[in-house]
Amino acid sequence: AQSVTQLDSHVSVSEGTPVLLRCNYSSSYSPSLFWYVQHPNKGLQLLLKYTSAATLVKGINGFEAEFKKSETSFHLTKPSAHMSDAAEYFCVVSDGRGGGFKTIFGAGTRLFVKA
């Protein structure tokens, strides 16, 4: 069985400060892990993905995430927040075989960026 928990429903940061969005997962298989971003009234855009290669994954817009098997975590970070980063972020786990029913979405973390 798989599950994914996003530990914060809302995160608020000031522009120019670091961003940390936390995600923990559980999986019976070697998982693939993803982060997606959803801006208001838009679809979900893939930020980055981990598929058993390097544990530190770099994504678009300066985001990165580190896969820590011992902690079953896949936290998303960015060194310096920008106003345009304000959006909903989803952590996603797939059991490697993939496909919609084997892919579980977290409940989402809303990121607020203050000027």
Binding site: S32, F34, Y36, Q38, N41, K42, G43, L44, Q45, L46, K49, T51, E88, F90, V92, S94, R97, G98, G99, G100, F101, T103, F105, A107, G108, R110
Partner: protein, 113 residues
């Protein structure tokens, strides 16, 4: 080129009506999906379909049905619309040989009045 495109983007309709949302992907993917996103942003998979297998989320009412004329299209038909059907519906696709990453359309905002 839009990879996964769905129409209409916005749809307002009355209870009891029947409506369809169309979806097309030009990525050459073998599997397509429909997701429902509620007002709390929670995403629920409704259907998964490739040319061999349709998987239905058992919690989805049978008023909802997917129709696939070919591998690149998966339309969503909804009969006898209810107020609770108001949500954002996302079409998506993935391919087994390309890491199974799911790619989403822009969404269709359905409001039932």
């Amino acid at each position: 080129d839009t990879a996964v495109s769905q129409t209409p983007k916005y749809l307002v309709t009355q209870m009891g009506n029947d409506k369809s949302i169309k979806c097309e992907q030009n990525l050459g993917h073998d599997t397509m999906y429909w997701y429902k996103q509620d007002s709390k942003k929670f995403l629920k998979i409704m259907f998964s379909y490739n040319n061999k297998e349709l998987i239905i989320n058992e919690t989805v009412p049978n008023r909802f049905s997917p129709k696939s004329p070919d591998k690149a299209h998966l339309n969503l038909h909804i009969n006898s619309l209810e107020l609770g059907d108001s949500a954002v519906y996302f079409c998506a696709s993935s391919h087994v040989d390309r890491g199974n990453t799911i790619y989403f359309g822009e969404g269709s905002w359905l409001t039932v009045v």
